[in-house]
Point group: C2
Chain length 319, copies 2
């Protein structure tokens, strides 16, 4: 199977939102009046972002999901994506599974593949997503204000729990492991929530490297701090099994476990009902975990109001 047949068979799809899709030197589209465009890119490498044991359909889902998550974090509506693939071999079973998982998620978000590249090489998946928002409605990292509430979507810690089990650091009952693994391998990009929070959230970021690390980026960009209540944040614990784990592992999974692709965002406390409505309308649970502070520090407080001492670095690819 040659390069062009590979594209034709597994990746060429109707892209009617574009003027020109796959098959020319560039894709071409006409932007919508009154809207800004957003773009983001993520590269996934075997052994760093996924394990060799991952099912190809789940990998197809995950590769797009982590990119859509960046659009979600800005409140954007996905429009298009581009896919570059370096593959050791043109394995039909793998390509068939990968493209199935990929397009299931893409179709669910009406996000159309309009370009890409394929080459032989060590497995590498690089994707670029393009989205849009009405003018001035993109939610950036830099808008958090003192007194804003801090929220997190969904649950945290499952992806880390699965990784700890894969590494042999802990052992889990099969059913718990399967669930945690599924969360790690097929994260849900919170696109609907991101959209629903336009005009309400003052700042937002997605959690790829860990809650404290990614919240830290938001705080730095906004030049503020945050006080997180562990009594509230522990409500983010994903699986029941995590509740039974030692406290250290629990906190590690929730506060610095990466790969969950939930959203952490801030909103004025006057919008509490509006934020709850947005969560409900988008079918996404959210948890309020603390408040933005003037002092540019990020602290986590225990049930007695005491600042906890934490040493939970977030993930760095070259650290």
């Amino acid at each position: 199977m040659g390069e062009f047949e590979l594209i034709e068979r597994f990746f060429k799809r109707n892209a009617n939102q574009a003027d020109v899709g796959i098959g020319d030197d560039c894709a071409v589209w006409t932007p919508r009046a009154g809207h800004q465009l957003l773009v983001s890119t993520d590269m996934l490498v075997e052994g760093r972002h996924f394990l060799s044991t991952i099912d190809p359909a789940r990998l197809g889902h995950k590769a797009l999901a982590v990119n859509l998550s960046d659009l979600a974090a800005c409140g954007a509506t996905p429009k298009f994506f581009l896919l570059s693939l370096a593959l050791p071999t043109a394995d039909e079973a793998w390509l068939s599974g990968f493209s199935r998982g990929l397009f299931e998620l893409a179709d669910a978000h009406a996000c159309q593949l309009i370009g890409g590249d394929t080459t032989q090489g060590p497995l590498n998946i690089s994707m670029t997503v393009i989205g849009e928002v009405p003018d001035s409605q993109a939610i950036l990292r830099s808008g958090a204000r003192v007194g804003d509430d801090v929220y997190v979507s969904g649950h945290l810690g499952d992806a880390r729990l699965a990784l700890e089990a894969f590494r042999g650091h802990i052992s889990l009952p099969q059913s718990v492991f399967d669930l945690a693994r599924q969360r790690m391998e097929t994260p849900t990009p919170r696109v609907a929530l991101g959209h629903a929070l336009r005009c309400m959230a003052t700042a937002m970021v997605d959690i790829s490297d860990g809650l404290l690390g990614d919240l830290g980026h938001l705080l730095k960009a906004s030049r503020v701090g945050a006080r997180i209540e562990w009594s509230l944040a522990q409500g983010l614990l994903a699986s029941n099994s995590l509740w039974l784990c030692p406290d250290a592992l629990k906190m590690n999974c929730v506060l610095s476990g990466g790969d969950d692709y939930e959203l952490v965002f801030t909103a004025p406390s006057s919008f509490r009902y509006g934020v709850q409505d947005a969560a409900k309308a988008s079918g996404t649970p959210i948890t309020r975990i603390g408040q933005i502070t003037l002092s540019e520090e990020l602290s986590v407080h225990d049930v007695h109001g005491q600042a906890m001492s934490l040493d939970l670095p977030s993930f760095d690819h070259f650290a």
Copy 2:
């Protein structure tokens, strides 16, 4: 050096054409009224698209050049690019050279870096470029019409000549090799020519895999054929040294040697003066090599008008 420091030191630049550049989940920009947007992506892998011996500054140039070449092939003006890098290690000397070569070319085209990703892994460079054209002025592959002239920009064959020398198939005087190698490693994206050909060229494609192969894509998309005159096409020979090579190698380099990143395009013969003016205005030599035909075949004819029998497949990453 961590991931964030790496980005800060080598890749964070002013991106004043965007509303939000590097540092948020997405880059954000406001599209220009009356313009369409174009996007393309290319992935470069060591050993496939470049040799391990390449100077990092040249590699930075080449990675962007092959992407800009896709915009050029549509007549688009470059606006933005995104860069994803998988690196075995965070080597400062390499990064410094790579980013210097990259930004020299980017600045020459006022093309701004607005996003990216870095990770550890086998060396892989994935880039996405975004450009614009006034509405309906994108030059596609599908517009060639019977009777149109066929042109090629610049010269062809040097990249292939260098590759043959690298492979030890031929030996070249040092000065000839150096020049051929430079053409292979730092191709010139024909952005100015592409722009100048708007409203004149009926179809265009860039030559990455070889003249006959890429022209073949254009013909297929336009549902036409072409008759190429070798007496004209041999004027594309790049270096003087190629003139001294055996005929077979000469034809191989010109007709199917890849990696030149010149443009092949078609235009009505009534525009011959206009096309020449566009070439002159953009400082790009062009050569007319043949004509579009009704029969959907691509043939090359010798000086006696005889169709030559050729077996010159273009490059396929999985063939």
